[in-house]
Structures are given as structure tokens and as C-alpha cells.
């Protein structure tokens, strides 16, 4: 859409004192904003790249620029070699974390779509007043503080008195003794703790995609659907042959956004499952945080980890922009 304007040629109007005055105003106004972006966005990116090649800890006094050098020596790609092949504990946990992060994302995306797509279609079909009410309520978890969401689900998953245990008992099933802390509970290769985190996250997050899909459905011109009806299509055909093709771009775009955000989920992993049991819910973001700020103060290694996450997300972002740039008119 508008991103594409970046690639268009800028028309520069010339001549006239008035124009010169306006240009001067534009430059003086934007300079502080761009300097600010330089300091808090561009510099941090470059510094993160550089730090990935150093053994860096803020508690050591380095010698060179920003303590790079001296006690914080340049180590080349050693951090990356360690992360990919090393036997140190952080590296081994990180490789597990990469796997878990992908597993989490691979579970969240289909579960999210399976809930939001049909729900959006149904929601779009009911009366205006109901639509607004339901949509508002479905959106409630997304505006909730993630910490509160963790507390809610910690209580839902509580062994014995938790609501989920009670519901299991009510329908005659034996609830697991522990939902979040028994590493031996694994279903189809997926640890129970991971399933619990996925459910809690999708509960918190599904409102976003839902409102996006409802908006996309509403933007499909009525005339197209009516034309299909006139041509003799039934409700089912109208949905699959008219609505679904028109929705494809939105679903694709929303899926990429969902994947990008799933890769970066933090709070629920840090506070609900705490990365456990036995690192079964350890994720990349949790590893970055723990290595940088919690146990190790190893900012070099943590930066190298963040670069790996960055490259994955960059590829996805480029994909997203390419989808956005494709022309789409009804």
C-alpha cells in the first residue's frame, strides 16, 4: 500500500523564496527527530551487531570506544560458532530455545486462524448491534496486561483447585497432576507446558486477528456477493468462490504478522511457565533476556542471539512488505 510510495520518485518543486522557506522549515524540524532516531534506533542496531563480535560484559571495564576492547575483547564470530555448535550451557539451551520458539509459532498460527476465521465470518453475518458487542468483548483479553493474563492462567492451570482441573473432572477425565511443571507430560512430541502456554497466548491474542478479519470481510463490496447470488450460487459457494479468494491477501498478511509477534512473546514464558520444566518452554527471547540481564551479564552472546532472531524476523518483514506492495483492487 503506502509503503510502496517509498520506491516512487520524489517530485522536488523548485524556485521561489516561499519554497526555500518551506524547505528550510522542513529540514530544521526533521533534524532533531532524525538525530533522535539515529541515537535510539540506528546506533543501537549497529552497536548490537558490533557487540555480537565481542565478549562483552558491562561489569568489566573495557578500554576502547564504549568499553569495546581490553577486558571486553573482540572475538570474531566465536559467539556465533558457540551458539551453533558449542557445548556451553547457554548455547545448548539456546538451540533448544530456537526449536521451542518455532514449535510455539507453528502451534499458535493454525490454532489462531482456526478460531478467528470462522468466528469472523459468523460475526460478520449477524446484526450490527450484536457484532459490535461481541467484537468488543472478544477484544478484552488483548488490552489486558500480560502480567494479569499470566496470573489468570496460572490460576486456571492450578493443580487441584484450578478451573481446568475441575472441568476435566466434571467430564470424567483425570486431570494432569501438574499442568506446568511435569516434564514427563508430552503429547505427540509436544510438552504439556508448551500446550498450556499456547492456549493462554491464543486466548490473549486472538482478538487482534478477529477484528482485522471482520474489517476485511466488511470491505468486500456487497455487490460482488449479490452478483454471485443472482448467478445462482448458494451460501457455501458464495463463501468459497467469492469471499475466500478476496480474503487471501489479508489472511496471508495477518499470518506473517502473527508469526512475527509469536517469535517475540516474552511475559507468558517468563512468568507462567518460567521456561520450564527442564527448558521445555525456553524461548529465544527468554534466552536473550536471561543471558543479558539475569544470570550471565553476557551481552556479547546475548547480542549474537538477538541477531539470529533479527535475521529471522527481517526475512518475514520483507515478505510482509512484498505482500503489501502487491496491487489489490476489488
Amino acid at each position: 500500500m503506502e509503503i510502496s510510495s517509498l520506491f516512487k520518485k520524489e517530485v522536488v518543486s523548485d524556485g521561489g523564496k516561499l519554497m526555500a522557506k518551506q524547505r528550510r522549515f522542513a529540514y530544521t524540524s526533521l533534524t532533531p527527530i532524525l538525530l533522535y532516531m539515529g541515537l535510539f534506533t540506528l546506533f543501537p542496531i549497529l552497536f548490537a551487531v558490533v557487540m555480537g563480535f565481542f565478549s562483552y560484559s558491562p561489569i568489566r571495564d573495557g578500554t576502547g570506544f564504549l568499553d569495546l576492547g581490553g577486558a571486553n575483547p573482540f572475538v570474531g564470530i566465536k559467539n556465533y560458532i558457540e551458539l551453533f555448535t558449542g557445548t556451553g550451557k547457554p548455547a545448548e539451551v539456546f538451540r533448544l530455545a530456537v526449536k521451542n520458539t518455532f514449535l510455539f509459532t507453528a502451534l499458535v498460527l493454525p490454532l489462531n486462524l482456526v478460531i478467528t476465521l470462522p468466528l469472523a465470518v459468523i460475526l460478520e453475518s449477524v446484526g450490527e448491534r450484536f457484532k459490535t458487542l461481541f467484537r468488543a468483548i472478544y477484544f478484552l483479553p488483548t488490552i489486558s496486561s500480560s502480567v494479569a493474563v499470566v496470573i489468570i492462567w496460572e490460576y486456571m492451570y492450578a493443580p487441584g483447585w484450578g478451573l481446568l482441573s475441575l472441568m476435566f473432572k466434571a467430564i470424567g477425565l483425570v486431570p494432569p497432576k501438574s499442568w506446568l511443571s511435569d516434564p514427563s507430560m508430552v503429547y505427540f512430541g509436544i510438552p504439556l507446558a508448551m500446550i498450556c502456554v499456547v492456549v493462554a497466548h491464543v486466548w490473549q491474542d486472538f482478538g487482534y486477528n478477529l477484528v482485522i478479519f471482520v474489517a476485511a470481510l466488511q470491505s468486500i463490496p456487497r455487490t460482488l456477493r449479490e452478483a454471485a447470488r443472482v448467478d445462482g450460487a448458494n451460501v457455501w459457494q458464495e463463501f468459497w468462490l467469492v469471499v475466500v479468494p478476496l480474503l487471501r491477501r489479508t489472511v496471508l498478511l495477518t499470518s506473517v504478522l502473527t508469526v512475527i509477534s509469536s517469535l517475540q512473546v516474552f511475559v507468558i514464558f517468563q512468568l507462567l511457565s518460567r521456561g520450564g520444566p527442564q527448558n521445555q518452554t525456553q524461548t529465544m527471547v527468554l534466552s536473550i533476556y536471561e543471558n543479558a540481564f539475569r544470570f550471565a551479564n553476557n551481552l556479547g552472546l546475548a547480542s549474537a542471539m538477538s541477531m539470529i532472531l533479527f535475521i529471522i524476523i527481517l526475512i518475514l518483514t520483507v515478505t510482509q512488505f512484498r505482500i503489501l506492495r502487491t496491487e489489490w483492487e476489488y
Binding site: 558491562p58 482485522i212 536473550i288 533476556y289
Partner: protein, 283 residues
């Protein structure tokens, strides 16, 4: 919309009631967890530990809430104030920088405009986890660690905000601006007196969204704040979660207290929030 023939069709009726059944199921799944901790926060500690528990308390009381609000060891007023100060500051600053930069990008022609806009958009593509470590070091160097400034200063410019405001201002006609220029208005005067007054709706959306994001922000405050007096609400809640593991009632009441202000804002401003969420996906 629906014809008489459709209405009499039993399948149509079945489909219609099926639709409402699914919507209701979703409603229960969304609200039940909230409702369960709400009713549980009214229980006594003994009731909370009872297995199997009753869904509703036999003698509901606000004991847990009064305990939290009257506990002098918890600087709860300070923590609420911290969240309010940081959220409102960030809303004010973001609204100004977004609308002002958006105005420049929408209404002025100058060399390097696309490059400058591209530089700002980089912020959208960078995961927070990449810049968080260098930004932490910057904050340490500026001597801002463990102060509320650390929450405000690194997020004064919002690329999303600039993008959205630019879109909106581009659609505004230029005639008023030209007329104001002829009347001798300064370029900044055009922004503050012609453009800004017309920007109520998009500014409201961006403002509410910024407020909620800041109010719920957790990871960055966790990194840069250390003393209890400096904590924002989510950090206080985590402290509760780790401190009162034996007293579930207090944790539940604390989370209800955290959710309440945001829900109240939401009830009144629901439409803006949902609209903003929809737009932000289609930058």
C-alpha cells in the same frame, strides 16, 4: 436483506441459531477466566484452599482488596502515580512528534524526504529485543537507570504514529494552508492552528493505544527499574506474584485492580481502540 422464503427455510434457521451458539461459546471462553478470578478474589484464604472448591464464595468479602490497599509496606500509590506519569508523558510526546513529523512528511517537498522517511520506518522492522541491550547501555551511560526518565526518553518517537498521521494529513486539502500562508501564518502556525485542530479522531486513537501499551509495558521497565518506589503497575503485580505465593487471594485481587482501570477506559473508548488495532495491521 433476508427474504421470506429464507426465513421459513428450517436450514436457514438452524444456521442462524448455530451462528449465535458459536458466538456465545466464544463469549464464555473469553469471559470465564476473567470471571473466575473475579469471584475467587472475593473468597477467604480458607475457601481458596478447599478442594474441590466452590465456584462462588459462601461469604464473599472485599478483605483481599482492603488488605492490599491498606498495606503500608507496599508503595501502591507511588506505583500507580509512576504508571500514570509515564503513560501520560509518553502519550503527550508521541502525539506531538507523530503529528508534527507526519505533517512535514505529508505537506512538504524537499530532497532526501523518502530517505528520511525510510530511516524512521526502520524502527518498525527492528525487534525490540535487538535494541533493548544497547539502549540499556545508553540509559546506564546517561545516568538514567532506575528513574522514570528511562521509560520515557527512549520512546519519544513512534514510527507507526508518524506513518499513520502522515496518511491522515495527506488526505487533508491544501487550500486552507495556502490561505493561511497568504495571511502571514508561520509554517509552525499552520501546523498548530490549521492542521492540529482537524486531527481529533486519529490523535485520539493513537493516544489511547499508546496509553494502553505503556500502562501494560513490562520487559523494558523490568530491565531499567530496580527499587520498589520506582516500579510501575505490572512490576508491582509481578512482585505480588512472587511474594505472596501462599496467599492466592491477594494476587487475584491485585490483578483485578490492575485490569480495572484499563477496562474502564475501554468501555468508553472501545470503538477507537478496535479501529486503531485494525488500522495498525495495514500500515
Amino acid at each position: 436483506m433476508n427474504t421470506e422464503k429464507q426465513r421459513k427455510n428450517p436450514f436457514w434457521l438452524l444456521g442462524k441459531s448455530g451462528a449465535y451458539a458459536v458466538l456465545l461459546l466464544g463469549l464464555v471462553a473469553t469471559l470465564l477466566p476473567f470471571f473466575y478470578i473475579l469471584v475467587s478474589s472475593l473468597k477467604t484464604n480458607a475457601e481458596l484452599r478447599q478442594t474441590p472448591p466452590d465456584f462462588f464464595s459462601k461469604e464473599p468479602s472485599l478483605q483481599n482488596y482492603t488488605t492490599i490497599l491498606s498495606d503500608e509496606r507496599i508503595p501502591i500509590e507511588r506505583n500507580v502515580m509512576n504508571s500514570v506519569i509515564v503513560s501520560l508523558s509518553r502519550v503527550a510526546i508521541t502525539l506531538f512528534t507523530s503529528s508534527f513529523a507526519g505533517y512535514i512528511f505529508a505537506k512538504y517537498h524537499f530532497k532526501g524526504k523518502n530517505l528520511a522517511f525510510g530511516v524512521i520506518l526502520i524502527q518498525i522492522m527492528i525487534p525490540f529485543q535487538v535494541v533493548m541491550i544497547p539502549n540499556y547501555l545508553l540509559i546506564v551511560r546517561f545516568g538514567l537507570i532506575d528513574s522514570l526518565w528511562a521509560l520515557i526518553i527512549p520512546s519519544m518517537v513512534d514510527a507507526y504514529g508518524i506513518f499513520m498521521m502522515k496518511q491522515f494529513i495527506e488526505s487533508m486539502p491544501g487550500e486552507l494552508m495556502d490561505a493561511a500562508r497568504i495571511d502571514g501564518a508561520s509554517e509552525f502556525g499552520i501546523y498548530s492552528r490549521i492542521i492540529l485542530p482537524q486531527m481529533g479522531p486519529p490523535l485520539a486513537s493513537l493516544g489511547i493505544f499508546t496509553f494502553m501499551a505503556t500502562w501494560n509495558d513490562y520487559l523494558w521497565p523490568l530491565i531499567v527499574l530496580t527499587t520498589p518506589e520506582k516500579r510501575t503497575i505490572p512490576l508491582l503485580l509481578v512482585w505480588f506474584q512472587t511474594q505472596h505465593t501462599s496467599n492466592q487471594g491477594l494476587i487475584l485481587a491485585a490483578s483485578i485492580l490492575t485490569l480495572l482501570p484499563i477496562f474502564l477506559v475501554y468501555i468508553f473508548l472501545q470503538r477507537w481502540i478496535v479501529d486503531q488495532a485494525t488500522q495498525s495491521a495495514f500500515k
